[in-house]
């Protein structure tokens, strides 16, 4: 047998289970999961991390992360995470939430977790829609966008304007690291990973509440191909949700990773 010389360029992170996900083809939930798993591996946090899954398409996130996990009620992940972190302050605790979960039903919990400066990390998937329940309007749905509960397009007069969670949470004195990134192409994915790293670094250093908002796609409920959906993120979502660092505490600004 000839031994082939191979160089490993991609390896499944240890924190990532070896199963097929239940996500639709082209959904960026899988990408976000992988980035989180890679960061947790790189920082060597797996054995002390506790994840909090939301109610949404990622309700089964715990099937894909090789670590302890709990599953919250819809929107309440930051409260549940607070409970865990307060009794296990040395553990790493993160929530993973969609935009219905975080910005609609759970907006009180997320605001107050940030307001209290809870040492938590929040991964926030903004796909402008409710995925799991079949495509209803989210607080992040773009003006004019058609969903099954805004069938004539989101009318801002009746259904309000998109909520910009990164901007809002950056106002809270308790927050330490609040940024928005996107998952629509490779270079943005790299930047997203770096941000996730900094968010967990913030938690490890006790610098307060950290959140990475990730602009994501839902090809199924947007009725688009995977490729078209990524184009939609770039062309339609970026103008409404500008990428950027909304809050970075000084202690983190100096950090090089």
């Amino acid at each position: 047998m000839v031994e082939a010389k191979t160089e490993v360029i991609y390896q499944r992170p240890e924190s990532f289970t070896d199963v097929h996900t239940h996500y639709c083809p082209g959904c960026t939930h899988g990408v976000a999961h992988r980035l989180v798993a890679e960061v947790i591996d790189e920082m060597g946090l797996r054995e002390k991390t506790i994840g909090v899954a939301p109610v949404g398409c990622s309700v089964f996130a715990y099937n894909y992360f090789e670590m302890d996990f709990v599953e919250a009620a819809h929107g309440r992940a930051p409260a549940m995470a607070t409970g865990i972190k307060r009794v296990l302050p040395d553990n790493t605790v993160f929530t993973y939430q969609g935009d219905g979960d975080l910005a609609s039903i759970g907006i009180a919990e997320i605001m107050h977790a940030a307001g209290r400066g809870e040492n938590l990390t929040v991964i926030f998937i903004n796909n402008a829609i409710y995925g799991m329940t079949g495509g209803q309007m989210a607080p992040t749905t773009l003006p004019g966008m058609k969903t099954t509960s805004s069938p004539y397009g989101r009318d801002v007069e009746l259904a309000g304007y998109p909520l910009k969670m990164a901007e809002l949470l950056a106002q809270m004195e308790g927050s330490g690291y609040i940024v928005r990134r996107s998952l629509h192409d490779a270079s943005n994915i790299r930047k997203a990973k770096k941000a996730i790293r900094l968010a967990f670094e913030a938690q490890e250093r006790g610098l307060g509440f950290s959140m990475v908002e990730l602009l994501s796609s839902c090809p199924t409920n947007w009725s688009m191909s995977a490729q078209e959906a990524l184009g939609f993120v770039e062309e339609k979502m970026l103008p409404v949700y500008p990428l950027g660092d909304y809050k970075v505490t000084p202690a983190l600004q100096e950090l090089r990773v």
């Binding site: 907006i107 099954t148 509960s149």
Partner: protein, 374 residues
């Protein structure tokens, strides 16, 4: 009007529109979401209010506010969402304003699943929210019946200034069945004297559920109880099937009652003298009728899609006069007619006493059947 083939949730929503609902507030949740989606399509076109609230907590409080204006208002949700509404429901009950709430029940507790269930029986019938109040609970079993009873729900809510729950399970929400919708009702321009619409040419109306002096709260609680006694007297509804001289009485509501009716039909074909009582009002429960039937039948079989919640109410009424047996499926599993037929056969042969809680033996049977299933 001709019959149309209608999806349960959409038919229920349209029935509410035809009954003159002026505002709908809700939040998506499977298996009731098509209700909200139908409202999203129809209400703006009719110039009526539709809001997808930020949560069920907000939705029920929007209902509360709108109900205080004396207009017809409602919400629809499924089990976990209805749990979140319980505080608001208690406030609405305490304020004595009318509201209709549809619960398309699913498996639980907790996040559970989205499969059909009747596990919210206690929550819906016994109050669910805090304090002393008595909701009216309607449990239709076909799409047509639900269409008819949603209209009735508004009338009852207004007549008794009460919460009216319409409870169905996911099967009913998702299925299609021919039904005839009622004609569009005119929206009434009558303003109830208690409604808040601006104190023009009258003293201000104050709507609140706070009675800081317990004596006043006691008077209020008594008033609610008196009103409930009227409901019990006037509003009991049920359906019977194959009731010529039954020796065995099956009792089931909603889908369980409906599935049981197929089993009863098949059992009759085998010569087993069995009949069905299907309560349509779970609260008030058809207590008088059940008491009468206790003198006619030799055994009772309660069938539910929960762990025997209505069973407790049945036993309270039967008071041991007739042996009561139980068959239930849990967690979002719908019993099929052959299972209930087997139960009826078993009960028809079984003449002994039933000692203790009928759930004990049922649990053993269910576990045995489940392991046999696999």
């Amino acid at each position: 009007m001709a019959k149309e083939l209608l999806k349960g949730n959409e038919a229920f929503a349209e029935a509410a529109i035809r009954a003159g609902v002026e505002a709908f507030f809700g939040y998506p949740i499977t298996p009731s979401t098509e209700f909200l989606e139908h409202m999203a399509r129809r209400m703006p076109k009719l110039g009526r209010a539709f809001v997808q609230a930020e949560s069920e907590v907000a939705a029920i409080n929007m209902v509360y506010g709108a109900a205080c204006t004396g207009k017809r208002v409602m919400t629809a949700s499924s089990s976990p969402g209805v749990s979140l509404m319980m505080e608001g429901i208690s406030y609405i009950a305490g304020t004595e304003v009318p509201a209709v709430i549809v619960n398309v029940m699913r498996g639980g507790p907790g996040l559970g699943n989205i499969a059909p269930s009747q596990g919210d029986y206690y929550q819906m019938i016994k109050g669910g929210g805090h304090g002393d109040y008595f909701p009216i609970v309607l449990a239709p079993a076909t799409v047509q019946e639900a269409v008819d009873y949603i209209s009735l729900a508004f009338d009852l809510a207004e007549k008794y200034l009460s919460i009216v729950h319409v409870v169905v399970d996911g099967n009913m929400g998702q299925m299609m069945e021919p039904a005839e919708l009622p004609p569009m009702r005119e929206i009434s321009d009558e303003i109830p004297e208690w409604a808040v619409r601006g104190a023009k040419d009258r003293d201000p109306n104050i709507l609140t559920s706070i009675y800081i002096d317990p004596e006043d709260e006691e008077i209020t609680n008594l008033r609610l109880l008196r009103r409930w006694k009227e409901v019990e007297k006037n509003e009991v509804r049920f359906q019977e099937y194959q009731m010529d001289n039954p020796e065995i009485l099956v009792i089931g509501f909603g889908t369980a009652g409906r599935v049981a009716s197929s089993a009863v039909r098949d059992a009759r074909a085998e010569g087993i003298p069995v009949g069905l009582l299907r309560p349509i009002t779970l609260a008030p429960f058809p207590e008088g009728r059940l008491e009468e039937l206790c003198d006619q039948v030799q055994r009772i079989l309660v069938v539910e899609m929960n762990s025997g919640m209505m069973l407790d109410d049945v036993q309270k009424i039967v008071k041991g006069k007739v042996p009561v047996e139980f068959y239930g499926r849990l967690g979002g599993v719908t019993p099929l007619p052959d299972e209930i037929l087997d139960e009826i056969r078993r009960v028809s042969k079984n003449e002994g006493e039933i000692s203790g809680d009928p759930r004990d033996e049922w649990m053993d049977r269910l576990e045995k059947m489940r392991t046999g299933d696999q």
